[in-house]
Symmetry: D2
Subunit: 477 residues, 4 copies
C-alpha cells in the first residue's frame, strides 16, 4: 500500500482519537499504524490525563517514530494522533500535527483531515487582529478562530468557528474536558465512531478499529459535532443541512479494502468497479493482471465478470526504502522496476488485460505497459476502474496541477498512444456509481466527483476562484 | 514478502556477484535489494578495482544500510554482496558477510549461502594448526582451508578446500584476479549466471537479473566452479558427480514467484501446487482465500482447479517495523493482527478454503483461523500446498527444533484441532512433484526432501549424527 | 567551560545576529559556537534573504546540530541565532529559539536573552483576547504583543510592546526589512554591536566577534533600539531612563574571560577579584590552586597579590559526555571525579588555598575539598571570589530555589563545616566593586546585585511578589 | 586535552584491564574515559565471566560509544579496553581493538599499545603458513603467533611469541583463565599495576586508577609478564635484559599531568622542563603565556624560574566538534581560532614569552604567533619545552613524515622566521634530562630519544631500514 512512488493521487492525512482507555497513547499509535496508507511522511500523538498534555512527533513511518520510550511518555487515558502524507515548507516539524496550544480556556490539541478553501482569507483577517502563525498549515486557522471566540464553552467556540470556515474537514479536538469529533456539513472526508470495552475511538477508517478491537458504531455524520467526556457521548448538529459530498475516491483508491467507509465496505465496491469495467469494455484476452496492490480487487471483479483468468503477472517488492539510489547508467523504467517485476512465464505470448484503479499522469502506466511488453505479452489492454481525472482536488487530496493530469488535455486515443497500450478504457461515471450503490441506476446522490467533473460542491468566492486558478480556467474554457 | 513475523521456515541468505561493470557496487546493491526476501537482518558488499578492496556492511534492510555516500565508496568494476536472515552471537557485525581477509595470495572476499555439516570438525582441526577464528560463522572455515592450501592458484586452492567440506554451499569469491562462483556437488542451494552488456552477474535468484537488466544464461551447475576474469568465463568440474538434491522448499516458499530457480519458473510451479492440492483434497466451499502474500499463487491454482471463487479475504499491512510495541492489555491474536486483517464482508457466512504454502509450528495458522472465524466465516478449511514438515534442515534453512515442528509429533487430526479449523489437508509428496515436474508420475528425481522425509541426501558421520541430535532420534525411532 | 555538571549558576542563553554578509547563516553558527558556554542544551538559527526565511534548530551542542547540509540551507545575508541552557517542559523543540512566525506585517523572527517578570500576567491578558501559545517560553509574549499592536512599522510595534513588558531582555529581531537589536532600560543582560567588512553583528559577548573577525563598536545601550537595514544603522531611545542594573555575575562567572562585557574586559576584572580576595582574607599557605577552568584568573590574581605560588593542583577532563554511566558500587565524589582530578605530588603535605569563583549549594565544593584532602593536603582554605549568594535571580539566570542556596540560611562557619574546609572566605561587596571599577571606593553605581543582596532593581507588583515567593519571604524576614 | 586539531605528535592508544571486580566492564569504561587523551577515534571493551565473552566497540568518544545498554551487556568480573587515536584503512571497525578470537586453547582477547617493527616480515611468514588477516593492525600478528605456538599454556605461548616480535608493546590479554599484562623488554610504552578492594587493574597511566579509586602498586617492569587469575598475581621475566628505552615524550606531552608514568609524577617534570627552559633561554619580557592546555605546567615553571608574571593570554574553547564547518570567505588562522582566542587586554603592548611543549610542523605555532601579534603584543618569544623533533617514531606514535617535521630540514633561524616570532628557543637535551631526573647531570640513562636524535634503541634489520625509509636517509646523510 505504500504506493507513494507510483503515479497516484494521495490522501493527505489520517486521524485517530481515543477516549477513556488506560493505554490511550498506545492505542492511538496502533490506530495510526493501521492508517499508515493515508500518510507516510510524519506522525504525531498528543495524550492527556485531563491535566498534563504530552506530545511526541517525528518524520517517517509510525513504527519508526514511536519507540517504547516515547510511547511510555504518552500518559493518560485520552489521545489523538495524525499521519501526514507530505510536509511542505522549510520547517518540517512545525507542520506536523497534532497542533497543541495554550489559550484562554486552557490547553487545546487538534488533528485535521481535509483542506479549507477560505484559509488564506481568514488568515489575513486573523493576522490583522494580531494573530501570529507558526506553521503554513491551513488547520492553524481553526485553532486561532477558536481562541478568538468569545463563547464560554469549547464546543460553542468550535461551532462558531466552523460557521466561518469553508472546505473539507474531519477534526478531532482534545482538551482538559474531553474529546470532540467533527465532520464538515458536506461530509467530504470520512470519520467513524467506535466503542471499546473501555471508552470510545474516532478514526478515519474502520481498519483502525479492527486492530485495536473496537466495534464500529456509526459514522460521525456530516455537520455533526460529537462530544465525548466523562459523562459519555453527546451530539450536536448546529449547521443547516447541505447535500452530501463524500469523496468517491476513497472507494477508488485511498481507503484500505478491509475498511468500512461512508458506511459501505470498500472491498466489495472495488470489486464491483472491476465488474462494471468488464461489462463496459470487455475485450477477448487470455489473462487479467492487476497492478498490485491497489488494482487487485477490481481485477478480481473484472475476472469474475469476464471469465478471463486472473493471474498475478506483476510482483511487488515491499522493501522499498525512502531514497533509492539509482545507478548512473540508468536502467529502463527504473522507478517502476524497484517496485514491480513482470513474470515472464505468465505474460509471454499472452493477450493481457491490465487493471489499475486510476490513471493520473500516465507516466507509471507507460512504464508498466512497456515492462509487460518486454516480458513478451502479445497484446496489452489497459483498463482503469474509475473515470478520467481532469481537475484538481481542493479538499485535502494531493493532486498534481491540471497540466500534469493527462486526461485534462488529452483524449483517450492520445493517452493510449502515450502509454503504448493496444487499447485503453476507463470506467464511466454511471458504471462507477452502479458499483458504489450496487444498483442499476448509476446516479450519483451523495458524492463529490470534482476531480472527474470539475463540479466543486462547496461554492467558491470570486477571489478564491482566482487564487485557485479556476477562474482563468473558466474563461479559457 | 517480509514474513519474518509469521510462522515460516526462513532462507538464511542471498548472494550476488557482479563482474566487469563500471558500477559494480551499485548493481550489487540493487541485486541484494531484489533478494531482500532471502534475508533482512544484515547486508554487506565488497568491491574492488583489482587492487584496492572496499567494504560496507550493516544491520537492517538493504535500502537503509547503503546510503549514497557508502555506495560511492564501493568503487571498482567487481563486487559481491550478501543478505543475512539472522545473526546470532554477541558481536553482530563480525558475523555479517562478505568475509574479507588478507592471506598468502593477496586479498580474498567471499559470500556463502548454505550450511556446512562438518564445520565444527574442521574448525577444531584448523585451530590445532594455529588458525584463529573471528566469527561464529561456519563459512569462516572455508577461508581458512583456502589459506592453508599449498596450491599456487586460487581456483586450485578452492578445489582442494571443497574436497574437504561437506554440506550445502553456493559461494562467490572475489580476489585481485577476478570472481569465482561455486555450487556444491548436490546443488542444494541455487546460483544463477547472467550476462549484462558489460560483464557478468551471479545471483541466488533470477529476479535480481530482472532489476539490473541482466539476461539469464544458465545455472551454475552442481559441483561446478566458474571463474570469471578479464579473459572471460571458464568452467571446472573437479568433483565426482553425485545425485542432485535441490532444495524443493525454494519452490514451496523461499524464492520470489517472479524468479527462475533450478531452471524452472517459480510462479507456475506454485500455482500447480495449488491445483494438485485442489485435486487431492477438494471440498465444497464458497471462496478460496490465500494467506498473503506467499499463499497467493497456490490459492489461484486451487481456485482454477476447484472453480471456487478466489477472494482476497485477508488484507496485508506492509508497514510493519522491526519492533512493534504491544499495549499492556493485550489484543487477541496481536502478532497476526499487525500484519493481517480479515475482510468481514467477504468472509461473513461463507464456507472458506484458506490456502497457505506451509505450516511449521501452527501458531500463526491458529490465529488466522480464529481471526477468520471472528469475521463470521461458517466453515474454515485449511489447505497447505506442501507436505507436513517433520524434521529440521541442516543445509542453510532456519528451522525450529524438531519439538517445535508440530507435524513431527502430532497427527493430522491433532493439528486440525490445534488450529481450530473445520478441516485440514496437506499436499502429498507425489502431488508436490507432479506440480514441480509438471508431469503425471509424481516421482522425485532431483530434490532434497529432508524436511518432509528425514532422508538427508548428504551422508553424516557418526559424530555429526550425535551433534545434530539425529542419532538419538534414530535410536528412539 | 562546560561546567554544567558542577554546582554553578547558569546563564540561560546566548544570542547573535548577523546583517549584510553573504554567509550570514554560517557566521551566526560560528557566533553561537563561540558563545556555547552560555547554553549547551539546544540551538537554532533563522536566516533570510529578505524574502524567504530558513530555520534550523536542534538539541545538543552547536557543532553537533549544524551539519554542512543544514548550514547550506540557511541562505541569505541576514541571520539570528540562539543557544539555550536548559529546556523545560514536555515538547523540547517547541521551546528552542529563534521564534519564527507569520503575522500581519509579514514574517518575524526573534531571539531573547533574559527573563520577563510580568509574562504570566500578559499571557493571561493575551489569551483573553484570543491569542494561542505554542511554547512555555516567556519570550512568546513579546511576539504576541507585537502582533497585536496597531502601529504600522515594526519598530513602533516593538517600542509599544516593550512599554508593556518588565524584566530583563536583550533581543534581536529579524524581518523582511532588516534586523533590530534591543536592550531593556536597565541594561541587565549584555548585547554588543560589531562591524565586519560586509555588514554588522550583534552578540551577547565580544568573543563571538573575535572568531568571525568583527570589530567591536560599542554596546547596545540600555533602553536603546538599534535598527539595521539596507540604509545602515539607526538608533532610538524611546524609554524614560532608569538607573543601570547590569548583571555583575557576568564578571564573576558567566562571560568568557576573553570577552569585553558592559565595555570592560572580563579577564582583568576576574584577576582583580582574586587580588581583592587575597587582600581581604590573606592566609599563610604554600600554594594557590584554582578550581578549573573558571577559577583560574581569580587564582592568578590571588597568587600575584599574596605572592603564594600558583599551581594547577586540579586537572580537568574535558571529554565529559552528556550522560555518564556510574558504576553500581559508587565511587566516592563520583560526580566531581569525572570532571576533576587532584594532583597528589603538588598537594601532598601542603597548605592549600583553593580559589573558586562562586559557591551555590556547596555540594561540589565539599567534594573538591575532600578530594584535595585525600590527595594529602595539610590545610585547605577555600576562597570565593564573590559574595555569598542568598537569593534567586528572576532576570534570566537559572538559580536553584532559595532553600538550596546554602548561604541563604547558613552562616559562614556552618558552610565551612559543611564543605569540610579549614577556613572559608568570600569576597566582600566592596571588594567586588573595587575590582569591577578598578577603583578604591567599592561603591556600586551600575550593577544588579539581587542574588547577593535581595535588592531587585526592577519593581514587582504585589501579585508578582506572591507568584515568585518573595512576598512570604518578606513577611518571614 | 583534545588537541587533535593542533600540530602535535599523537599517542596511538590507551589500554586498560580489570580483574576480579563484579563491575569490571563499567570500570574498564571509566578507565578508558580517564585515558581519553591517548586516543579519541574509537574504543572497545571485551568482558568475560570466564566462560562467555562480550564485546562492544565503536567510533567516537568513550562517553558517546558506551550507552547504558551496551555497558549492561559487558557482563563478568574481568574486562580489557582500548582507545585508538586514529584508524586507517577502509574497514574502520575491523581495526578497533580489543581483538577477540577463538583458537585452539579457547577464546583470547588482546589490547596493544605500541608498534612492532617486524610485523610485515612476520605477517608474510604467517600468511605463507596459511594464516588469514582480517585487519591492517600490526597487533594481529601477535595473536596469530600465539595461535601457531605449540606450547600448552597461554603464558608460554605468549613468551614464545614475544621472543619473535620486535618493537614497542604494552599488552593486556584476557582469556578464560585470567588476565595477562606484558611490557616489551625496552619498556618503551608505560603500563601500571594497581589494586582495588576487589581485584586488580592495569592501565597506561595512573590517572585511570584515581577515577576508579584503585591504588598504584608499581609499573609492570620492562620484559615482565604478569599473570592475574583466581590464584592471585604471578610474575615472569623470561627475556634477557636490555637497556631501558622509555618514551620521554610521555613526559613532554602525551601523559596527563596528574598521572604517574615510569614511576615519576608528570606534572612536576613538566614544570621543571619550564624552569630549565627559562634557565637556558631567559629573555626580558612582561608576561609568560602558555599555549593551553598542554603548555600550562611548563609555563608555570618558566614563570617561577624567570619571575616573569604568568598570564592566561590564550583562552581555550572546549566545545570543538569533530567536523567544523568553515565559511567560504575564510577567516584568518581559522583552524586555530576555533580552539584558541587571544585576550587583547592582557597582550596589548606587552613583550610576551609563549611557552608550548613541542613544535612539530610549525603550522599552528605560526598561527598562534600571528594571532598574538594581532592582539597587540610588542614582542613574541616562542619557547619550546623540549628539543627539536627531527625524525619519526616507529614505536607507536603518530608522527608526520620526516619532510613535514620542520626541524628535520630547517635551522632555528629558519623556523623562527617561518613562525614569525621575534625569538625562538628549544630546550636542550641536557635540560630535558635535568628536568626528568631532577638532577644536575642531564645525562640520559633510561629513555628513548629517537624523535630528537635518530638514535633508535631497538635494532633494525637491513630490510626494515629500507622499508621505513631509514636506509636511504643514512646514505643521503
Amino acid at each position: 500500500m505504500d504506493e507513494s512512488h507510483l503515479d497516484k493521487l494521495h490522501e493527505e492525512c489520517a486521524i485517530v482519537g481515543i477516549y477513556g482507555h488506560p493505554e490511550a497513547g498506545n492505542l492511538a499509535y496502533l490506530g495510526l499504524y493501521a492508517l499508515q496508507h493515508r500518510g507516510q511522511e510524519a506522525s504525531g500523538i498528543v495524550s492527556t490525563d485531563g491535566k498534563t498534555f504530552h506530545q511526541e512527533k517525528g518524520t517517517g513511518l509510525v513504527a519508526d517514530i514511536f519507540s517504547e520510550d516515547r510511547l511510555k511518555r504518552l500518559k493518560g487515558s485520552a489521545a489523538i494522533g495524525h499521519n501526514r502524507y507530505s510536509t511542505t515548507g522549510e520547517s518540517l516539524l512545525d507542520n506536523v500535527q497534532p497542533i497543541l496550544v495554550n489559550y484562554a480556556l486552557g490547553t487545546l490539541s487538534m488533528v485535521h483531515n481535509g483542506n479549507l478553501i477560505n484559509a488564506n482569507f481568514l488568515r489575513d483577517e486573523l493576522e490583522a487582529y494580531g494573530a501570529i502563525f507558526q506553521s503554513t498549515m491551513d488547520s492553524e486557522v481553526i485553532i486561532h478562530l477558536i481562541a478568538h471566540s468569545r463563547q464560554r464553552r469549547l464546543v460553542d467556540r468550535i461551532t462558531e468557528t466552523l460557521g466561518r470556515v469553508r472546505g473539507a474537514y474531519s477534526l478531532i479536538f482534545l482538551s482538559e474536558e474531553g474529546m470532540v469529533g467533527v465532520r464538515d456539513p458536506y461530509g467530504v472526508r470520512p470519520l467513524a465512531l467506535g466503542r471499546m470495552k473501555d471508552g470510545y475511538v474516532l478514526a478515519s477508517e474502520t481498519c483502525a478499529f479492527d486492530l485495536i478491537e473496537a466495534e464500529y458504531i456509526r459514522d460521525v455524520e456530516p455537520g455533526e459535532i460529537i462530544q465525548i467526556n466523562g459523562h459519555g457521548i453527546s451530539s450536536f448538529k448546529p449547521f443547516a443541512p447541505v447535500p452530501n459530498a463524500h469523496c468517491v475516491f476513497e472507494y477508488v483508491y485511498f481507503s484500505r479494502p478491509d475498511s468500512r467507509v461512508f458506511d459501505r465496505g470498500v472491498y466489495e465496491i472495488r470489486k464491483r468497479l472491476g465488474k462494471e469495467l468488464a461489462a463496459e469494455s470487455h475485450m477477448d484476452a487470455d489473462i487479467v493482471v492487476p497492478v498490485p496492490d491497489s488494482g487487485v480487487p477490481a481485477a478480481l471483479g473484472y475476472s469474475e465478470a469476464s471469465r478471463i483468468h486472473f493471474d498475478a503477472g506483476l510482483i511487488r517488492n515491499h522493501y522499498v526504502g525512502r531514497t533509492f539510489i539509482e545507478p548512473q547508467q540508468s536502467i529502463r523504467h527504473f522507478g517502476v522496476k524497484i517496485k514491480l517485476n513482470a513474470v515472464q512465464e505468465i505474460l509471454e505470448g499472452k493477450r493481457v488485460v491490465v487493471v489499475d484503479d486510476s490513471l493520473v499522469r500516465g507516466t507509471t502506466s507507460r512504464k508498466i505497459v512497456k515492462m509487460i511488453r518486454a516480458a513478451g505479452a502479445k497484446e496489452i489492454h489497459m483498463r482503469i476502474s474509475s473515470p478520467p481525472i481532469v481537475s484538481p482536488c481542493f479538499y485535502g487530496i494531493d493532486t498534481p496541477t491540471r497540466q500534469e493530469l493527462v486526461a485534462s488535455s488529452h483524449d483517450l486515443e492520445e493517452i493510449r498512444k502515450y502509454i503504448t497500450a493496444d487499447s485503453l478504457s476507463y470506467l464511466s461515471m454511471e458504471g462507477m456509481f452502479r458499483a458504489v450503490y450496487h444498483s442499476e441506476s448509476g446516479e450519483n446522490k451523495h458524492f463529490c466527483t470534482a476531480c472527474f467533473t470539475e463540479n466543486y460542491p462547496i461554492p467558491f468566492t470570486g477571489e478564491e476562484l482566482i487564487q485557485l486558478g479556476l477562474f482563468e480556467k473558466e474563461e479559457g474554457g
